[in-house]
Symmetry: C2
Subunit: 418 residues, 2 copies
């Protein structure tokens, strides 16, 4: 079939420059995951493929640490998972409480508002989180239908404590939803112990996968709310099927009731499952579970400690409340001499092949964000990043004590015997 | 890092049985596309990656045969692209005309309804299409805001003629939207000549890619409607940015105004682009354009002719209006002796490794659907399918004239000198 190509302007094949992705995500994909994506396709109702769907449900129950039956994938990026959960739980006029401590809290509020929610937001200064008492008090006061809370917000690198909130939500008959995209697998997250009703995530952080599919989990309580809104679309409605009496979910693509019918033994046709992304999700979970969730989280903590030790030894100031940092992303205050920090970011990218991030809104140009997530979270990358940063800072006019960053990181590893 | 795994129940790696996917899609992925998906990741705002986004826009302008600036990807399966288009074009109470000639017409009606549209549907018997006069008359009568029309409906294997409809839509100030997921690349489809305002597609049919991203294109007229509904989400709104006065789009994830800002030089953060799926889309377009759209369509026509010649020589009856069949999927009436046809489909799958489809609704258990799409659309697969079908039919009690199918297919190829 191959023939010389004549008289055609052909766009060259993709040939991305190798980067080390140490920003807030996406990050480098674990090679085993890339290989899994290249596996041969199966038809969406091939019993072998629906078997893989069931396996994926079981794998993510382990990742989420839940017994929830309804643990499956939404075919879109993490934001699709958020909208599927909020759009399917919130009906027009429902009160939704959104405590915001960063950019992604604003996103939850926006999505809840578009879903018809009556959104009540409370704000914490960026770089801090709420006390659980503050949130509990707001839940008791407003008695919202849904509490929508980011777990780890990469925009500020902060992680919100959740302990005790589920109990308050039970008192007020509030559904407790969280976006755990940024935190899952790299930080302790135990869906059932925390008493969550709905959680959405993505693959592109500590799961070491590409963005494009969103694992979610729903408690029986959340599933009951969704069941009460089941309206099967015309053209595939089984004879005799009766719609539920609750308000129809606005989206079709992100209608959890129909997606659950597709992921259940009913196998009612909805979208065509994104085969390669399911293969990726399956392998991401295998990678994470083979290492073990606790071991992986310990690796993220150690790596961050080494990175942070190095950064502080270089005289840099870490951003945000030290008690509530995620273990997979570190905020660094940009030194005055670096201005908005973009020239240094460009040097890191173009000269050293390392991507680090800046942030959004009030933190744009104020902090850099350095991710140590999933496959990227390892000693060699910490040392490479510190050495590159040291050189880039020096050439920007910021003089760190010679070798201090690397030595401090080594000290952390030596002390840990790693 | 590799260590023996002890005391853990490990789900085995995916190991899909090799299949030849000759159903209505998804189909086997072109190996070059699988390789592209495994390329190293880039950050979403890396200038190299935004360059790839721009290249992808240009490649799909060629695939769609359009000059539309707004030609880009929706991160979800084909259904996400449909909902992004309809949800962004239709405001509450807008009249939407949906001529339905199969299951996917029902889907458009459902999505238009959920988007708040006042849906007017007309129906053609499954296996037929509308005359363009019938549709033109309905447009003139109802003067809808949007005409939503499937191009090729895999459920019936029919393809709707579009010629002249754009002119009528201009008369009535109607936006002309089409779902061309099933037809694009395998059948003639010239967005600008047909005068379409919005088209959505997928990769998993004649584009030889996996499901999971949806290339779409929008005319300037459609883009103006969407611009008038731009409401930038809280948390990322640039200082001084003013929202448009039109009604807010209900979905955030599928809000084309915000997605266009992400795909424009503004690069306003929305979702994290599904990197590997963009790589796939880029390579799919390169594969299709290297062969040439006309050459590829001729290949689909020839292959279908050979398959259909073989099937008819075996005494089988083809389904639907012969004048308006798609060139990439063939409906075959299931012979009585095969009942609902499921036992034969299982034999084809399990014994011969070939997937063929049945259909939905009134055609479930009445027809098989055999796809010859993209990478799968080639002589070796037609002959393998006919030989396997011949054997499977014989063992089901249906006796075709010996060797008739294969010989008829060879005749078609011989006559074409192929």
């Amino acid at each position: 079939m191959r023939q010389p190509i004549e008289n055609k302007v052909i766009t060259p094949a993709l040939d991305p420059t190798p980067r080390l992705l140490m920003g807030p995500g996406p990050i480098d994909v674990y090679p085993r995951v890339s290989r899994a994506m290249a596996m041969p396709m199966l038809g969406q109702f091939d019993p072998e493929f629906t078997g893989f769907m069931n396996e994926t449900m079981e794998l993510y129950r382990q990742v989420f640490r839940t017994r929830n039956q309804w643990t499956f994938l939404i075919d879109g990026t993490a934001r699709a998972g958020i909208e599927a959960c909020l759009g399917s739980l919130i009906a027009h006029g429902d009160k939704v409480l959104v405590p915001m401590f960063g950019r992604f809290g604003h996103l939850l509020a926006e999505i809840a508002f578009r879903a018809g929610g009556h959104v009540i937001s409370i704000e914490a200064e960026w770089g801090t989180v709420f006390t659980t008492d503050q949130i509990a008090e707001a839940v008791r006061h407003h008695r919202p239908r849904v509490l929508a809370l980011v777990h780890g917000d990469t925009s500020t690198t902060m992680m919100q404590p959740f302990e005790g909130l589920a109990e308050v939500c039970r008192e007020t008959d509030t559904l407790f939803y969280s976006d755990a995209t940024a935190s899952i697998a790299g930080n302790p997250f135990d869906t059932d112990t925390l008493g969550l009703d709905a959680v959405s995530t993505g693959l592109q952080k500590c799961m070491s996968g590409p963005p494009g599919t969103s694992p979610i989990t729903l408690s029986d309580r959340a599933a009951a709310v969704i069941d009460n809104r089941r309206h099967i679309e015309g053209g595939i409605k089984p004879e005799g099927a009766v719609d539920a009496t609750g308000p129809r979910i606005t989206s079709n693509y992100l209608d959890l009731a129909m997606i659950m019918d597709y992921w259940s033994p009913k196998r009612l046709n909805h979208h065509t499952e994104a085969t390669s992304m399911l293969y990726a999700a399956h392998e991401c979970a295998r990678v994470v579970l083979e290492e073990g969730l606790d071991t992986g989280q310990a690796r993220h903590r150690l790596t961050s400690r080494a990175l942070r030790g190095g950064l502080e030894a270089m005289g840099l100031k870490l951003f945000g409340d030290a008690e509530n940092r995620m273990a997979n992303v570190t905020g660094v205050v940009i030194p005055d001499v670096c201005g908005d920090g973009e020239a240094l970011r460009a040097a890191m990218l173009n000269d050293f092949g390392i991507e680090i991030g800046t942030s959004f809104g009030p933190l744009a140009g104020k902090i850099w964000r350095i991710g140590t997530m999933g496959y990227v979270c390892r000693k060699a990358n910490v040392l490479r990043c510190l050495a590159s940063l040291d050189a880039s800072l020096r050439r920007s006019g910021y003089e760190a004590p010679a070798n201090a960053g690397i030595d401090a990181a080594y000290d952390v590893y030596d002390e840990a015997g790693a």
